[in-house]
């Protein structure tokens, strides 16, 4: 099993720059600064690194879309607004190894020719803000950030911006809106952020985990990274496991690791001798997999898609056979109803309506027609909104209701 991201995570003093450098930190940045920016982008392209935020878009390709010589500055924004229920992988990276993120961002900025960059941190992660800010201050003091990065003719300012507690601001365009000082509403695409993003300038938004993988790729080479994982999903992935497992937490595994092995070995199996009932493999917004469907599924983008779910952000929620599925769905639906920004009609009204129907069902006040109504609402919401939040609500609703219909019917029968 390869370790790319969590190499030094167990070491308690890793947050200081001295210890980070002692363990080989900022060597990758030094190496990168000696390279041509275009060469770094090529390196990332050949490494096969894909966006770890959820969509899995190849990072090198994303960088390639940024137009050069537009006369406008280019911005790199680090999406640290990790709010998906069940996901807490970025938290551990920022909390335990903040300099890794700073180094990754510095490399990305150099490759993109970006001189101003922001970390958009989730509002509820205020306690991490202190760690991150201290790390940033240290980096400035050490000359890693500032007018001359590591003595080279390259200026880089890196700022930390704390969000105000809105899930929607994890969506890249609303993150940009929020950072600009507006209400966090997703923008209509096109134009895409690559050309008209932050302050109408070319912008790249990358996830914390993606950026943290960069130093390793620069140090060890793209080929080494591409050698890990499956044919199309390269490298390692962090999974934050929660739910009915003996050892919940964040684990780094190679792409293509079998799902059931992961639950039984890394996560320590299911407690109290219970049986596996279902797994939500990639955060609350992906379709649920039943125990039977989990057989032979590998943890990579393609295999999970084939199984009818998605890798998402790697926020795995394991549910054993004591779980009442309607209640799980109700919690998820409540979350989306609470976090819908309210811009597009279908999402604003649909998420709230679905959540109310589910609450009613659980309270034993539901009707039999409510189950079909839920599916109808899902149809009415899907694919009709600016951002994918409505779809993120549709996927659990549809998968829970179709795969565990009998449980919902039992509730509505009373």
């Amino acid at each position: 099993m390869n370790k790319i991201l969590l190499v030094n995570i167990e070491k308690p003093d890793q947050t200081t720059i001295a210890k980070y450098r002692e363990r080989g930190g900022y060597k990758a940045l030094e190496k990168a600064l000696a390279m041509e920016p275009a060469a770094i982008i090529d390196e990332v392209k050949t490494s096969g690194l894909r966006g770890r935020g959820g969509a899995g878009f190849p990072t090198g390709m994303k960088w390639g879309f940024v137009p050069r010589n537009t006369g406008k500055p280019t911005y790199l924004l680090c999406n640290a607004d990790e709010s998906e229920p069940g996901t807490f992988k970025d938290r551990i990276l920022m909390e335990r190894d903040p300099h890794l993120l700073i180094e990754g961002m510095a490399i990305a900025c150099f490759a993109l020719g970006c001189h101003l960059s922001y970390i958009y941190l989730r509002g509820e992660y205020e306690f991490i803000a202190h760690t991150l800010q201290r790390a940033l201050d240290e980096a400035y003091e050490a000359g890693i950030l500032g007018p001359s990065v590591m003595g080279k003719d390259f200026a880089l300012d890196l700022y930390l911006h704390l969000g105000q507690g809105a899930y929607i601001c994890g969506e890249e365009t609303s993150l940009i809106e929020s950072l600009e000082g507006y209400r966090g509403y997703p923008r209509i695409k096109p134009p895409f952020p690559a050309t008209h993003g932050f302050l109408a300038s070319p912008t790249v938004v990358n996830n914390v985990e993606t950026l943290c993988a960069l130093p390793w790729i620069i140090t060890n080479g793209a080929a080494a990274h591409a050698a890990i994982g499956t044919e199309k999903s390269k490298g390692t992935k962090l999974f934050s496991v929660s739910g009915h497992v003996n050892k919940p937490g964040v684990y780094e595994v190679d792409m293509g690791y079998p799902l059931l092995d992961f639950i039984n070995n890394e996560a320590g199996g299911i407690p109290n001798g219970r049986m596996l009932k279902a797994v939500i493999p990639g955060g609350s917004s992906v379709p649920v997999l039943t125990a039977a469907e989990c057989d032979g599924v590998l943890l990579d983008y393609e295999s999970l898609l084939k199984a009818g779910s998605m890798l998402g952000s790697g926020g795995m929620i394991v549910l054993d056979d004591s779980t009442k599925m309607p209640e799980v769905l109700s919690v998820i639906a409540d979350f989306y109803a609470h976090e819908s920004c309210g811009q597009c009609t279908p999402c604003r009204e649909g998420t709230g309506w679905a959540a109310k129907i589910l609450r009613n069902l659980i309270a034993g006040k539901g009707k039999r027609t409510d189950i079909d109504l839920l599916l109808k609402i899902a149809d009415m919401m899907e694919g009709k909104t600016i951002c994918p939040l409505a779809d993120a609500d549709v996927m659990p609703i549809r998968s829970f209701v179709t795969k565990f219909r009998s449980e919902f019917e039992a509730l509505s029968a009373n």
Binding site: R183, I188, C341, G342, T345, R348, E349, G352, W353
Partner: protein, 538 residues
């Protein structure tokens, strides 16, 4: 100029137009809430989704730019289901209090429900999200958050048109509501527009509140009489009473907007007593009612007498910049051709300069008369007199003996009004013989030798020339009570009385004659003045 097909019909779009713009220009109706032609595009209501070939999802037609060869369909089952779905979503938390809602009858929710919905609500009453009702937002607007479809038109209006940004969304998810910070009243002079652009009953008019149900109203296209901007408007009236004034879209003049003062001019029109019949000053020095026949005959003969005795220079025609072009044209024609008068003036307070002076950056102009430019075009400004003060001076000096004065009170009040009225009184006081044509009663009219009641704005049809020189037609909406005649008709009768052989039957006849004889209006057809107004061709 990209060509694309919509429902199988090939349509040509302008460069950069979105589907909804091109479709609406071609006469296709795409349901929408948030799209408004004069506001920036937002794309949040999701009503206007259409099917476009080679696009997997249904794109919103308001944000999707037309490209060459695009194939758009608005009539497929998929589109219909999508519209139905969005409409159902919009209605689940709507209070459906149409009986007490002033928007009923012109509400987009009602309209689209009848076309696309007709479904039975599947949400029980107690499940609906309740929000605040009857929130007082200043002198023009009442807000009901429950009825809102959150299209953000009002927010975009204040952000992009007035640049004051009073309104914003509050809350999240299905609890989002529009409002102002701490319910502060909307105090900008254009706040009434949000009532018009609100597609539903969320923002309703404080002024029109509960006055009348909209289906009882009749509409007449008109032009605002409040200032020299000449905003296009619609007069909504019933049984001879005006209930409200609404903007009519004219991209060249006022886009879709109207200022609050212009919107409320009908109150000023209705305020105060009207002169209800012609009056003549008798031998005893008191005014007494007479018939129109007597009045016209007397005025005509007396003016001709003075003209013959003292010459044309001794008679002044003092016109009003609030009168229609037709009336002013006949005014000059009568006094010039029949009486021989050569002195004409209309300026109470430098209207010729103020007509093009802006009061703010949006619509309003400083000159509060609708037709100052028309009066200038018709040659009613005298170089010699240079305004009313010159006329008063000449009258005091005895150079001017008689005058015909048209006076309308301004429909939008400004501090200088009383002063201007005092000057008119002074002019009358220094004349030997004065004929006053006016609509509203005033103290100074007692001095007049003859007082003739004429119709005011909205009571007669005629054209006004705005600050750009655009000639625009204002229709007749209501009938005045009493023995009141339109100004053009009074002057046409005087012309006939004086011996002019032309028979004027309607203001249209007058306009045609004017278009032949007045250089500024040469070649303008009456039809052109109706929709966008006509600019002089020269």
């Amino acid at each position: 100029m990209p060509k694309f097909t919509i429902n199988g019909i090939e349509v040509e779009a302008k460069e950069g137009q979105t589907i909804i713009q091109a479709a609406m220009a071609a006469g296709f109706d795409i349901p929408h809430y948030c799209y408004h032609p004069d506001l920036p595009i937002d794309g949040n209501c999701r009503m206007c989704l259409v099917e476009v070939e080679k696009m997997p999802k249904l794109p919103p037609s308001c944000t999707t730019v037309v490209t060459e060869g695009m194939v758009v369909r608005t009539n497929t089952d998929r589109v219909r289901q999508s519209v139905q779905g969005v409409l159902e979503f919009l209605l689940i938390n709507h209070p459906v209090d149409c009986p007490v809602c002033d928007q009923a009858g012109e509400c987009r929710l009602q309209d689209y429900y009848m076309v696309y919905g007709l479904h039975t609500s599947e949400i029980p009453l107690e499940m609906k999200v309740r929000k605040r009702k009857v929130i007082d937002l200043g002198p023009m607007v009442v807000l009901d958050q429950e009825r809102c479809v959150l299209c953000s038109r009002c927010i975009r209006f204040f952000d992009n048109v007035t640049h004051t940004g009073e309104m914003q969304f509050f809350g999240r998810g299905d609890h989002v509501a529009i409002g102002t910070f701490e319910d502060r009243p909307l105090d900008n002079p254009y706040s009434g527009n949000v009532v018009d652009i609100c597609p539903v009953g969320a923002l309703t008019s404080r002024d029109f509140r509960f006055k009348c149900r909209v289906w009882f109203l009749h509409s007449t296209d008109s032009v605002c009489g409040g200032c020299s901007t000449g905003c296009n408007m619609r007069i909504d009236h019933r049984d001879g009473t005006i209930f409200r004034l609404l903007p009519r879209r004219n991209v060249e003049v006022n886009r879709s907007w109207l200022c609050d003062e212009g919107r409320l001019t009908y109150h000023e029109l209705a305020a105060g007593d009207r002169i209800s019949r012609p009056m003549m000053r008798g031998r005893d020095g008191m005014q007494a009612p007479v018939t129109w026949k007597e009045a016209l005959a007397s005025v005509n003969s007396r003016l001709k007498e003075i003209g013959a005795a003292s010459g044309g220079n001794s008679i002044i025609g003092f016109a009003s910049p609030s009168a229609t072009n037709e009336a002013l044209y006949l005014f000059k024609r009568y006094l010039n051709e029949q009486v021989g008068a050569s002195q004409f003036e209309f300026r109470l307070d430098c209207e010729d300069r103020k007509a093009t002076e802006k009061e703010d950056d949006i619509l309003r102009h400083v000159d509060k008369h609708p037709n100052s430019m028309g009066a200038i075009n018709l040659g009613l400004a005298s170089q010699e007199l240079g305004g009313i003060n010159g006329a008063i001076e000449a009258a005091r000096a005895g150079r001017i003996k008689a005058g015909v004065i048209v006076y309308y009170k301004p429909l939008v009040r400004r501090p200088g009004d009383a002063e201007a009225e005092a000057r008119v009184a002074e002019l009358i006081g220094s004349l030997e013989y004065s004929v006053v044509l006016a609509a509203h009663k005033a103290e100074w009219q007692r001095e007049a030798s003859a007082l003739l009641p004429v119709t005011a704005w909205s009571e007669e049809s005629g054209t006004y020339t705005n600050y750009q020189g655009r000639v625009q037609l204002a229709g007749k909406a209501v009938e005045p009570g009493g023995d009141i005649l339109p100004l053009w008709e009074v002057l046409a009768s005087l012309l006939y009385e004086g011996g002019d052989s032309v028979l004027w039957l309607s203001p249209d006849d007058v306009f045609r004659s004017m278009a032949e004889n007045i250089p500024a209006y040469r070649g303008i057809a009456l039809e052109q003045t109706r929709m966008l107004g006509a600019l002089p061709t020269a």
